[in-house]
Every structure is written in C-alpha cells, then in structure tokens.
C-alpha cells in the first residue's frame, strides 16, 4: 500500500548518500534524514495515547521537515502552525484542533494549554545515540493508511474562526505523484523551498521532491528582502526547480539582477497562490528565456486542480493569463453561477473542527467559490471570488475572521472589513469601525495588531458614525469601498 512517505523510503534505499535537505549551515543525506525521522517517530509512537494530530511549532527548515515525516511515520496527521501567528491565533487553532502534542524548540511555552503535550525537538544526537534517550522499536504503522488523514492545514474561516482543511494520504499522494511526473522531477533536481509548511505549496517540496530523489534547499528567509542576493543564491546552489508565489517572482523580475546573473541551471519555475500580473510575467519570461514556467491553481481543499504551461507567444500585457486545463485527473465543471466545481482525488476529506473530522460527502464536487470561464482554447480563466474571501500576499483571508477579532476589542461597537485592490499584494483588508469612544482608535489598532497576523491586519481604518446598511439590514459593503479611496 502506497502512502505519502513510501516514495521517500524507496529513495532512501536507492540513494542513501544523496542530499535530502540543505539549509544555511546544515545538510542531511536521505539516510541521515531517515535516521532522525525514525528516532522522533519512535518516541511519538510510544508516548502517544490517542490518534489526535500532532502540531508542529517550528520555523520552516530541516527540523520541521523531520517533525513532519516523523509524525506521518508514527501513524498520525501533522498540523503545521505558523510561528509568526500571534499567540491569540495559535491558541485558537490549538483549542480547535485538539492535538495530542506540540513539537517545538526549547522549553514548553507557558501559554500552551495543560491538556496538550509538549515535545522538545532537541539537537541531533551524536553517534547514532537515540533521541532523548529512547531506543524504541518503530512499528510499521505507516503502512496501509491511504484514507487516513495525513495533514491538517488551517486557513481563514468564513464563520469568523480559522478552520482546518483535512487531507488524506491518498489525496496528497495523488497531487505529489502528478507533480513529480508532470514536472519530471528526478535525482538530479535541486529544488528551492520557501513556502511555509502550513501552505499547500510545501507539499510539492516535501513529498514530490523526496519521492523523486531530488535535493531540497531551504531559502534563507532574509533573502526575500534582497532580490539580487536571492538570485545569487539560486545560482550558487544550482537550483533547477522552484515552486513559489508570483509576488516574489515579480520582485525578482524587476529588481533581482537577472540580467547580469543568468540562471543556467534553472529549468522549471512553478507559481500559484495569487494572480501573476501579466506585465510582470512577461518581464520574467524574457529574463529567463530557457525556463519552463507554469501557472498552478487550486484552493487548499483541492490542491492543484488546474494548470497552464506559460505559452510565451500568447502573453499580452493587458490580458490575464489562464489557469489552464485539468490537473491531477480533476473533473472540472462550471456551475450556473459560473463557479468552478472540482471533483478530484486530491480533494480534502472534510474540515477538522473541535478535535475531529467532519467528513464531507466525497461524491459531491468541491465548490471553489471562484468564478471562472472557458476561453477559445478550452482553457479555464479566473475572474475573482463569488463570496467575500480576499487574497492578501498569497494568504486566504476571510473578512469575517478579522471582523470577529475586531468586534471582540472593548472599544469597538461594530465593524465591517472589505478588500482594497493593491498593486503588489493582490488585496489588502480595510476596516470601517463604529467606536464606543470617539478617541480610542490608536488603542484599538494596537490590540488588533497583537491579535491578527500581519497579512490580516487592515491597511486602513475608517471611523464611521454608523455602517451603511442595505434594505435587508445587512451591511452594504459596496458602499464602503469609496470611503477608502483617497
């Protein structure tokens, strides 16, 4: 029975000495990585009392990759947390997910609820000595679990609180295999990795990469602020494949010194998460004439269900690029309201709520909430959302989640959040507030900043005497937009 880590284990047998992961001052071969994974996995397996997920509170990098593989090998699902989230949101997610353990660095944080165990990921042991002094035998519980949940990825929820998208081994494997084949990943590939593990882009790096015998290089976080150094890093590490977000590729195209540092090793560049402005893509395509470019599309619930290999001859500055044709064997359909419906083996198993899976009806296609059409070439084109969801710097943001947080702040009577168009990050939230005390905005903004992740923080606040309402009593969000145009 195949599962998400079978491909990796096979590569361990074939290529034990090949580099699996590399970060700034450390690299691990497939065999070394496997050894560290097995040590942590055996510890987890012998200390676990339930099959609840195990949360991972670690920076993107080798240690977090070890934790993810160890959780899977121990036979349960991983829940990657965003270490940059405010405590408030981390606590909300942990309270909802009810993991049995959190794996992290150093001592147990005092904000962590007593009912959740803490596993400290310690320094790699010397000379094969077992991690944390435990030398348990690892049961092969990672066999035969294709329908069980492998990952729970929390995203913004339209009901006002974060929600967990639960993905089975079979679903993630379907994507992982499709991507490995479609992009012809192989042991010669050196893949750059930048996506945090709570983003579904990371499934490609973690699983398509290692099941193909490729080497995965973590991009140092600080390089995203120095585009020419990022280019130099891609060149020095001879990166051949990279799956990332359009906004960063735009930055590279305009300011990355690609004209003086060509990237001869780079063969495949994949992007997803937001719309790539066509003029930026044209510039990138000109600077990297020999690189195959791919636009991938799909919400976390389906992962990639549509893709378009960039056809350079068809790029017109004023025309948005298509999201393309079916990927991963997805059956796509357009509903009467122009919504894209996706039936695919990639599809999620349901939302994870209050510590358990609420299974979805797998016979029904997933309704994406995205408005699409077909062009003359039979390719799908994206035309925005049918609901209020925003895309901010590649993150999915539900205005309702921001409103819930703002409404909980003492001085706020009521509020409404809308999305403002933003040339660089797609959309940015903006908030209209009705306050209890006219002079308390600065305090409210400060509290909001403590509770909201940066990408959810409204870029503008407007204080109103009352929110505009429609005749049915609902907030007239359309009437709010002009208030922010100054």
């Amino acid at each position: 029975m195949m599962n998400l880590i079978t491909g990796f284990l096979e590569q361990c047998r074939k290529l034990p000495d090949k580099i699996a992961f590399c970060e700034e001052n450390r690299s691990l071969s497939y065999a070394e990585f496997r050894q560290q994974v097995e040590q942590l996995a055996s510890f987890l397996q012998h200390n676990r009392k339930t099959s609840q997920p195990i949360a991972i509170l670690l920076e993107r990098g080798i240690d977090a990759a070890i934790a993810i593989y160890a959780v899977l090998m121990s036979g349960t699902s991983y829940l990657p947390l965003d270490v940059k989230n405010p405590l408030f949101r981390l606590q909300l997610i942990i309270a909802d997910a009810q993991p049995e353990f959190v794996i992290g660095k150093d001592v147990r944080p005092d904000w962590l609820n007593d009912s959740v165990g803490w596993v400290e990921q310690s320094e790699p042991p010397q000379n094969g000595e077992s991690l944390m002094g435990f030398g348990y035998h690892l049961y092969p519980s990672y066999e035969n679990q294709s329908e069980s949940i492998a990952a729970i990825l929390y995203t913004s929820g339209s009901t006002g609180t974060p929600k967990g998208v639960a993905l089975s081994h079979a679903a993630m494997l379907n994507f992982s295999n499709w991507a490995a084949q479609t992009f012809k990943l192989n042991p010669q590939d050196k893949m750059a990795s930048l996506a945090p593990f709570h983003f579904d882009l990371s499934v490609f790096d973690l699983f398509s990469g290692l099941s193909s015998g490729a080497s995965v290089y973590f991009i140092p976080a600080k390089l995203t602020l120095s585009p020419s150094r990022l280019t130099a890093w891609l060149s020095e590490n001879q990166i051949s494949c990279w799956y990332t977000v359009p906004s960063l590729l735009s930055f590279l195209a305009f300011k990355g010194a690609l004209d003086i540092t060509p990237l001869p090793f780079l063969k495949k560049l994949l992007f997803a998460g937001e719309v790539f402005p066509t003029p930026h893509l044209i510039r990138l395509a000109q600077l990297l004439p020999n690189v195959d470019l791919y636009n991938l599309y799909g919400p976390t619930e389906t992962n990639v269900c549509c893709y378009w290999q960039v056809d350079r001859t068809k790029l017109q500055p004023e025309q948005a690029i298509p999201i393309g044709v079916s990927a991963c064997g997805a059956k796509l359909k357009i509903a009467e309201n122009d919504e894209l419906l996706v039936a695919c083996a990639n599809n999620f198993s349901g939302y994870w709520q209050q510590g358990q899976l609420l299974p979805r009806d797998s016979s029904e296609p997933y309704r994406t909430g995205d408005k699409v059409s077909l062009n003359n070439n039979g390719e799908y084109c994206y035309h925005g959302r049918l609901d209020r969801m925003l895309k901010c710097s590649g993150y999915r943001v539900e205005p309702a989640e921001i409103e819930t947080v703002l409404n909980q702040i003492a001085g706020v009577e009521t509020c409404a959040v809308i999305g403002m168009h933003d040339a660089s990050s797609g959309q940015r939230p903006a908030a209209a507030l009705v306050l209890k005390n006219a002079d308390s905005l600065a305090e409210i903004v400060k509290t909001a900043r403590e509770k909201l992740p940066a990408y959810m923080m409204p870029c503008k606040f407007k204080v109103l005497a009352a929110l505009p309402v429609l005749s049915n009593g609902k907030t007239d969000t359309l009437a709010l937009h002009p208030l922010f145009d100054d």
């Binding site: 600080k222 995203t224 602020l225 120095s226 585009p227 020419s228 150094r229 906004s247 960063l248 735009s250 930055f251 305009f254 300011k255 990355g256 010194a257 710097s393 040339a423 660089s424 990050s425 905005l441 600065a442 903004v445 400060k446 940066a454 923080m457 409204p458 870029c459 503008k460 606040f461």
Partner: protein, 78 residues
Amino acid sequence: MKEKIRRFIFQELIFVAEPEKFSDDDNLLDAGLDSMGIMRLIMFIEEQFGVTLPDVEIDPDNVHSINALEQWILRHKA
C-alpha cells in the same frame, strides 16, 4: 524628500495608528514592510526622485528606516 517617502509608506504600504509618532529611525520592516512593499517603494522613489537604485544594494540595511532610505537615495543622487 523624507516627507514624500513617509506619506507614500504610510498611505500605501503599511498602516500605523499614529504615523506622526513613527520616527525616522523606527524599523519599517518590524512595522510590516514586506518584499512587495519594498518593490513598490523603490519604484516610487526611482520615479519621484529620478534616481536609479542598484539591484545589488536592495537590502534590509538600506531600507529598514526612513533615515536609511534617505541616506541610500542621497548616495545615488550626486
């Protein structure tokens, strides 16, 4: 020059509750200026002040505060 940069940053790129209390030495990156913000800021500066800021100098050292930005621009204005 500083005023124009300030206005662009606080109107277009990041929100701070009281921009007048944000000093020219305060850290813009901690306040939420990200890679996309930096790209827009540099394009704004190049257009507004007629300078070309070399790609290889785009770095936290040169963009972390309003004073750092000013120094950087002045080095290329001459």
